[in-house]
Symmetry: D2
Subunit: 142 residues, 4 copies
């Protein structure tokens, strides 16, 4: 992630949103805690996936988080808000990988990749076609 | 990580400890939440690094978490305890990568790799020799 | 709570258990955070109520937390474990109040009262008789 | 708290702010968790006290949280934001009690009282006069 300069540019992502930081996001070091940063990426994934999935999925498909990786680039601080950005990194047969980034004070402080696996009744299942059509236009730009 | 079968065997790690789960570690799905699992790996890192670093570091060296990756293998549950395991995966010039695993009910439910960077006054600094000597015997077995 | 000296004596409670502290329970002040302490009391309530309720409740009765109050007596620290204690403070018609305490290094660092309301299909409902019989022997001693 | 109808009216508080809810604020019941609600009151206290204290305190006075009590009135939900309200309930010699409330979808879902104690070098110390002057106009209305 961190070696791809496209990942650090907000303009290369398709969606972004400001989020508030909380006092509790800091640890004893007085910075945003690493796991709290993972929490921000979880919130980003959940909020954006709801919009992505709405109407594109029949029945009750289930996506499991198979993998999460975070690159920590700079320390974050409270109480300044952060800007969270979301795009797709890769679309597979039964899973997709999202590319997310966290910005504060105009600079990129963390990157995150998450692999979501579409889970059918007996293990991984192909992505629904209607979802695939929505994912493709959202690949990271640049 | 998940493609290396050595990583799923508790016996291949050098240190392990039981940890309690908490009701708050679950999310609406009734399983241990993914970020809560990252929190267990943080706790493992902190507890074991304190022992590793004790006496091996002079002055006030600072290690920054540069990268964390987690593979989620199976769902975890509350209130059963978990067993956290720790070994070294790779030792670099100014950083090292730890290999951690989480077990519950006898099976491996998550793997984690963390890169810690030794930070000197002006960026990354070589690992102290006394620390390197302690890290080497702790490489993952198998 | 804090003005009742009986509340600060572990021996006056009926149940107690050790619990691990976590790095994440600290805030920037380097002590156990106040809300993290409320989290320990939640964990205590849940673990002990499961045992209390087991077999004493038919159907799927629901208890809602109506009120929680915490007195903070001294700062707590990581990584020492804590001891959580539980007793009953008062048994009403459709609710009961538990008396809990948190100890570390042999001294009482926080007290907590929680009111749980038994919720029937249309608001508060009388406590089941089988539960009342279990609660009565658990009133705070001293 | 809950028996004072003034406490449930947003207009009776002096300060208020919207805050975002997070997926992680829910527990297995699918509602905002009780301790997460306590976390919102902590955030409210910290954000508003910073403004209150700014310029009114010399040196490095320290306030300790001595007591927190929460009345839970209704279940809260994600992802709707909440509105947090703050006023003063009582001003003592060396401590003050704040009155806070949490609203969602136009109704009051929780109330919180917090006692902050001014801590001098040897225990509780009188409130600084400059702070007292700021606190007095902020007493709950109605």
């Amino acid at each position: 992630m961190k070696n791809d300069p496209r990942r650090r540019e907000l303009a290369n992502y398709h969606w972004s949103a400001a989020m508030e930081t909380r006092f509790a996001d800091m640890d004893v070091n007085g910075h945003l805690n690493n796991v709290a940063i993972a929490r921000f990426f979880e919130e980003t994934r959940i909020r954006f996936n709801w919009a992505l999935f709405a109407g594109a999925l029949e029945g009750r498909p289930r996506f499991l988080v198979g993998h999460v990786a975070v690159d920590y680039l700079a320390e974050g601080r409270y109480p300044a808000p952060v800007t969270m950005a979301y795009a797709l990194a890769e679309i597979g047969r039964s899973s997709f990988r999202s590319a997310k980034a966290m910005f504060q004070d105009g600079r990129c402080i963390a990157l995150c990749d998450t692999v979501l696996v579409h889970r059918g009744e007996s293990g991984a299942a192909p992505l629904p076609e209607a979802l695939r059509e929505r994912l493709e236009p959202l690949l990271l730009k640049g």
